[in-house]
Amino acid sequence: MTKQHIHSIILSAAIAGLCLSTPAFAQVDAEEIFKENDCHKCHHPTKAKKGPSLAKIAAKYKEKKLDEKEAIKHMTAGKKVELDDGTKEDHKIIDTKDVAVQTAVAKWMLNR
């Protein structure tokens, strides 16, 4: 089992605790949702791809004392993002409106 997997299991266990009213999410696997949504195609754990690496995002959030609410904005608003070559593009929107799931994904990202 990879470190990431262990992480997501611990996380989903934590979420399960928070979401007693919605037992359907007792099995949220944040990493799986992240990848099902193609997020990993632009956000690598350590390497800069089209988007910044998870490590870089986590470090930035820590430094600027931002939290998962800010991260959720990025994955739900479809805001323009600026690319390395100066052009702009709409950011991907995650395919769930469930805030608990979005929070799980955001936390998973920020814990890299």
Binding site: K35, E36, D38, H40, K41, C42, H44, K49, K50, T87, E89, K92
Partner: protein, 436 residues
């Protein structure tokens, strides 16, 4: 019945491999490292789709030539992609094949070479509990001989009017570094809208009105490389035959070797072709040819009853033996007055090692299917100097793409790999080991 066909099959391989006593059978494959390559179902992810907004967030990057794996690099990426496309309701797979087919195939690849040949060994599990060695037939309906059995993406199979029958295949595309973009985007350079079973499929009228395809005497649209078109995203914009000849001379084409479980395996071979302005066959003659007479629509050959015990088979005998019709071994000219009954079937293709000639006839293969798994060793001579071949030589590193057609299907119905490198004794994703 099974025995006789099998016996003949083995003897031809032995005869054909007389020069290979030091060849694939003698190699201890346990000593050669295996590389796992995951192939995935690409659906209709054409050159054009990849450069469109539908490939969200990746159109521009793909158009400028970025490598697919610069984004698609997750350890489980191919599994995810193939499964997603075949889950149902995916824009890249419009047919009901979704849900009925494996999204990915794990292919084990091993490679070795000696002074004469490269030996490429492939193993993969088939979806069916039988090897896909059957191919389409000519069936007597009481009046006429009609094609029986079609690939599973065809409407007649989807609507249940015909059974799915099509040979399994293992294909390799080879580039020696000369084809612009192949090292980054591999096989996807050759796959376009307009081709068979792709979006905006050609019409007969389109093809008949097309200068390049009429010059080539072709009646459909198949794989092509971007450089052969004025606009790579429009198959209709073919360059002149002279310009295309110059591209070929400069070596900017890819080799395409296909091992076919019916039409080449029966005689211990793999076919040899190349992709440039079309999916061409190499010069010379293939090991297979159509068995239907173009005028009478009757078979040209049938089985030799004296040798195999039957002239034809019926549908209930499918998958119960190797039903290969081999010109020099078990075939005799068709007798229209042999008392044919409704349902009698003769293979739609005639196979022959003896008739195969020239550059088209240079790849050999030894294959077997056991416990749900194909093991195929393709034997490719080193140093081929034909103008339609990529020359493999010791020390060379090549860009390669692999594909498997499994479960009675053709065209896009394959699982494909992202581009890999193959080194003949040189360091690469797959390194061929020198044999002593």
């Amino acid at each position: 019945m099974k025995k006789s066909a099998l016996f003949l099959g083995v003897s031809v391989i032995v005869a054909g491999c007389a020069s290979m006593t030091s060849g694939p059978q003698a190699i201890d494959w346990n000593k050669i490292p295996a590389t796992k390559v995951t192939l995935f179902y690409p659906g209709q992810s054409s050159y054009e789709w990849l450069r469109s907004e539908a490939h969200a967030g990746a159109a521009k990057e793909t158009a400028r030539g970025d490598a697919c794996v610069s984004c698609h690099d997750d350890p489980k990426e191919e599994q995810r992609q193939g499964s997603k496309i075949l889950r149902g309701n995916h824009p890249l797979e419009p047919t009901a094949i979704a849900g009925k087919k494996n999204g990915y195939v794990d292919l084990a690849v091993q490679a070795a070479y000696d002074d004469k040949n490269a030996y490429l060994r492939f193993q993969w599990k088939t979806q069916n509990p039988y090897p896909g060695t059957e191919h389409q037939y000519l069936r007597f309906d009481g009046k006429e001989w009609k094609v029986y059995g079609f690939p599973k993406l065809d409407k007649v199979v989807q609507e249940g009017r015909q059974p799915g029958i099509y040979e399994d295949r293992m294909s390799i595309m080879i580039d020696d570094g000369k084809v612009p973009g192949f090292a980054q985007q591999g096989c996807w350079l050759t796959c376009h809208d307009g081709q068979r079973d792709m979006p905006k499929q050609f019409t007969k009228e389109d093809v008949a009105a097309n200068a390049l395809l009429t010059a080539l005497k072709k009646s459909d649209v198949r794989k092509y490389l971007p450089e052969t078109r004025g606009n790579p995203s429009d198959w209709k914009t073919g360059k002149s035959v002279e310009e295309i000849a110059r591209i070929k001379e400069a070596g900017r084409f890819v080799d395409l070797i296909q091992w076919r479980a019916h039409r080449s395996h029966a005689v211990g071979m793999a076919d040899d072709g190349f992709v440039l302005e079309f999916r061409n066959g190499d010069a010379g003659k293939d090991m297979f040819s159509g068995n239907a007479d173009s005028k009478t629509h009757q078979p040209k050959f049938m089985w030799d009853e004296k040798k195999v015990g039957y002239k034809s088979i019926t549908a209930d005998q499918l998958r119960k033996g190797d039903h290969f019709l081999i010109r020099e071994q078990n075939a005799v000219p068709f007798d229209p007055n042999a008392g044919w009954k409704v349902g009698d079937m003769v293979p739609d293709y005639l196979i022959s090692r003896e008739d195969a000639k020239g550059s088209a006839a240079e790849n050999n293969a030894v294959a077997s299917w056991k416990d749900g798994m194909w093991t195929v060793v393709i034997v490719r001579p080193l140093g081929l100097a034909n103008s339609d071949d990529k020359t493999l030589k010791a020390g060379g590193v090549y860009n390669v793409g692999f594909a498997v057609h499994d479960d009675n299907i053709t065209t896009r119905g394959h699982q494909v790999s992202y581009v890999k490198t193959l080194g003949i004794g040189a360091k690469a994703d797959i390194t061929a080991v020198k044999l002593n």
